[in-house]
Subunit: 336 residues, 2 copies
């Protein structure tokens, strides 16, 4: 690749024109509440099913981001989107309403990173003017697809995370469109398997992939962790974050002081999900709400956003497969 083994450099400064986040009621009760753009009072969003609710969330995030950028849908050349549902119906059905060319992605909870990388490359290479990069998840659709019927009231295990109900969208555009937040480089993840087979311990399944991507990013770019204000993982949760930092430590990289995890940030300890949040919407709502705000006001200058994904299906687990992980790292810089 043009920036090392797994890393690509963007030469023409594709920039972040806007970001938008919309979350469910539980997320709105968490510590990041002031940063979110819209909060639902009820997580069914007035729809007949949770799947239709997630679809409306996804569409609202895209529309919200387009409006926040002062644009209209005809200004957007492509929507690059994904979600956790089988056949990514949330993103595809959202795209149906939008009349914008659509590229469907799946990289589990790392999808937002992948969408940003492809969006930035298409803009930077001069192929499209602007891209809407969107992902979503919904506690109730994920729970019933991956785990048990909600009506069972199944108890969470101590290592399980709470799927975030929310959707986020980032509009990327060319340099010179008035934004000073740029996508500078990105590291495309490899699928890494450490043999974890507990579907209630995704943090452990994803931590090795996150560590591999971050270490490779630093190697490819010749940077030290201190180059970034923060290394922001997607949804490793409390336990996964600890593993991630230990894996970096073992390679001589001390990142504890500069590490934040969107999954850990989104919920309060009082909210009965001690491991934190997860889901394809987790990193995208936290990035579009909190981190974009901090970069806009100048209190954060450089972050490496590393959405993390656990690659499994109900069937792969039933067939005794382990859970490989993937993590895509995207570097954002603010220039004066």
């Amino acid at each position: 690749m043009n920036g090392g083994k797994q890393t690509i450099y963007f030469r023409n400064k594709p920039s972040v024109l806007s970001g938008y986040s919309i979350v469910g009621p539980k997320e709105a009760m968490g510590p990041l509440d002031p940063y979110f753009h819209k909060r639902l009072r009820k997580d069914d969003f007035g729809q007949k099913s949770y799947e239709k609710a997630e679809c409306k969330l996804h569409m609202s995030a895209i529309s919200g981001a387009i409006i926040a950028a002062g644009l209209s849908p005809t200004d957007i050349d492509v929507n690059i989107g994904g979600d956790l549902l089988n056949q990514i119906i949330t993103s595809s059905f959202s795209a149906r309403e939008l009349d914008i060319p659509f590229i469907g992605m799946y990289s589990a909870c790392s999808t937002f990173g992948q969408a940003l990388i492809i969006g930035a490359a298409l803009i930077d290479g001069g192929y499209v003017r602007r891209a809407a990069c969107s992902t979503s998840s919904h506690f109730s659709t994920a729970e019933r697809q991956y785990r048990y019927p909600l009506e069972l009231g199944t108890q969470m295990t101590p290592t399980s995370q709470w799927t975030v109900t929310g959707a986020g969208c980032t509009i990327l555009g060319k340099a010179g469109e008035g934004s000073n937040i740029f996508v500078e480089s990105a590291t495309i993840g490899k699928v890494i398997d450490f043999g974890i087979s507990d579907a209630n311990n995704m943090g452990a399944a994803m931590a090795p992939a996150a560590a591999q991507s971050v270490l490779q990013h630093l190697k490819d770019t010749g940077r030290d962790v201190s180059y970034y204000d923060y290394i922001v993982t997607g949804d490793l949760g409390v336990y996964g974050s600890r593993l991630f930092l230990e894996l970096l430590e073992s390679e001589g990289v001390h990142a504890a002081e500069r590490h934040k995890d969107c999954g850990e940030m989104i919920f309060d300890k009082k909210q009965r999900c001690p491991q934190g949040g997860s889901g394809a919407g987790c990193s995208s709502v936290v990035f579009n709400a909190y981190f974009l705000y901090q970069m806009r006001v100048g209190s954060i200058k450089r972050i490496l956003l590393v959405p993390t994904g656990a690659l499994l299906s109900k069937l792969s687990s039933l067939q005794g497969e382990t859970i490989p992980g993937i993590a895509n790292a995207v570097s954002f810089v603010v220039e004066e």
Copy 2:
């Protein structure tokens, strides 16, 4: 976009270094048998489950294409892959074995088109040296995921197509690597819904999207159908192809003589699937086997490959949703 409303142009001639196709026993009994690179004697490929068999198919296609290009896995910067299974486990689990950065795609049976577009853009933009674009499908994994248990022996309806058991992979590289087959431009599809709700009539669900992408491609490029030797749709089948041609006709575009459908081509009329084949592996095995061969020997100079996808899940159909379609068009040209 740099080539019109939905079309992108590749300026630096990303080229096709190799293609590889591997198919199941039924496909090997069809008229394209002489062109396939490898045929299975049994469709379980010696694996314990059909899902594991599909994964082995997918990996074999990637390895086969890498070897056919005279390369080794370390020469490939990225694998861009997808399939039809929930959470695209086939492609992700293949990528686990490969140690190549992975980008996961989902666009139903149009995934191969999407993978080629992203691969070509990443090479053309100078981000990666080579990309392995791969997709697969398997009759038995698709049947039990989307329809009924195989043991039921459910009869096909007259409009239903037979999911192809097969995997294809194309290695794209930079100009000057010795190939004279180039990816010249591509049209990214929109999600189009004509209100079809019969999950056994995918051809009808996909035909409007195919027509929209082809018409927009011709408009964006200012070309007439006669520019191409063939417009090659993915898996519209017999009935869907008729609809597709009628939709083009109604816009004054006469494509009947230059149209081929991979789904129609792969099976013989005697093979008891009168509508033809379908699946994410359908267009990729037919392209990598038949069309790449014809371009290599110079009997075909220009094709527009249009893999077509029906965007549905079991759940979306149960919730009464219609089936939108998508089609991505990729233009290949042979230069002397």
